[in-house]
């Protein structure tokens, strides 16, 4: 399992959990899931690049 896969897998699990915890309507759940999933994956990649120049 590479790092990116683990990042995506973790984001998938956490986003699914919070979508079902915080929203009741299917449409709202899908929206929250998509938003948090993309934020976690995109944020992880962005942070990775930001840390790239540092030893």
């Amino acid at each position: 399992m590479d790092h990116f896969f683990l990042l995506v897998w973790h984001a998938l699990l956490v986003s699914t959990f919070f979508a079902f915890l915080w929203r009741r309507e299917p449409r709202d759940r899908v929206r929250l899931f998509a938003k948090s999933f993309l934020l976690m994956v995109g944020g992880g990649i962005a942070l990775g690049w930001l840390m790239y120049p540092f030893p």
Partner: protein
Amino acid sequence: MSEGKGKDSAGKPEASAAAGGRAPIGLLALTWLVPGLGHWVLGRRTRAVVFCAVIVAGFITGVALDGELGIPKSGSPFSWLAAFACVGNGVLYALRLLWVNGLTLLSSEVPFGLGGGGDPMAVGFSYGNTFLYTSGLMNLLAVLDVSDIARGAKD
């Protein structure tokens, strides 16, 4: 497949007669021990299945990556936080402890002196720990959700 029901005209959950009361301790304990069971008992079947699947999947991933269960260690305050997060996994935590420690679990000075499994030299060690902590904390949030539902504060 909406589970949303009992909303008033303002879209807020109805306050049931039990609102403000206490959630049954047994129900909360069940939810903690077996992820999703509390939601299942309360009739929130979809949430029960999803929570159970997500928490068990996270825990298994953590173990598969050689993550270490949090065990309290004297003189190490952070180990207590890790233990708190991992204990949230309920029966999964107990089964993993039993798997790692065998029957010495019964004779050791609980909670000290136990092994949490895992391999600090493994590539996935830190990732495994993260998955174990996350699944435990998610289960604790599920317990709070059950408490809210049982009190009528939430649908």
